[in-house]
Symmetry: C2
Subunit: 111 residues, 2 copies
DNA sequence: TTAACTATCTAAACAGATTATACACTTACC
DNA sequence: GGTAAGTGTATAATCTGTTTAGATAGTTAA
């Protein structure tokens, strides 16, 4: 993003988990998915996605397998684990509560 | 916070600016103010506040003066500058848009 | 006199994100 | 035949904001 680069920070994992909770996917697709949904305000760098994947695999939140790559570049797919689903549920609840509170703290009396 | 420590990240400045937009204040008070409004979900460490102040003063977002400290510990007050008000308005608008989009990306089809 | 609270401050470490770079294959166009 | 645009993965180095941990010091109440 041109400015406000930290918007996504801390939520990347949650968003990846949400996408994978709806079906297996791979880095490039997830990245496109987020940028598309970001409406020009939110951006993700591929490096962010891939480092998140690595971290999340180490944490047992997802597993990975190579796609058969018929006629095209190889794709590494990611699948959410039960632990990943659990964490997503927690993070989702946390976001719902936190965003309400954050809104209050940021907007304050400046309604 | 026990978990989810990054919730505030990137918003600390905006919240400080919001508080100062409603009147001069000092570190300890601002910190209390945020923790109180945080409803147990959001926490700020004093170091976060003071490092933010330093950064923000360097960026011309606020000015500072010592309180007269009659009967009590000395207090360093902070006053928002016009540049600070400008940035607050921008960040506020950004938050309003970003939180809506973030909500969409985090919740997705898991309504 | 001790505990709890008010109040400010800094150095070092940490975590997640970005920048920059590399590699490689496919499709469409000229 | 060449090349540009798009698809796709990956890592090292750097940046930034926050946390951890520590220091200092005055006030109030038990």
């Amino acid at each position: 993003m041109a400015h406000g680069g930290d918007i996504l920070r801390g939520h990347t994992e949650t968003i990846i988990l949400r996408i994978l909770s709806e079906g297996d996917s791979y880095g490039y697709e997830i990245s496109k998915n987020i940028i598309e949904g970001g409406e020009g305000v939110i951006d993700v760098k591929d490096a962010t996605i891939y480092t998140a994947f690595k971290r999340m695999e180490e944490d047992g939140l997802l597993t990975t397998y190579w796609g058969d790559g018929v006629g095209g570049a190889r794709r590494r797919y990611y699948k959410i684990t039960p632990k990943g689903r659990e964490l997503y549920a927690e993070k989702l609840a946390e976001w719902k509560k936190a965003s309400r509170i954050l809104d209050k703290l940021i907007v304050g009396g400046n309604k």
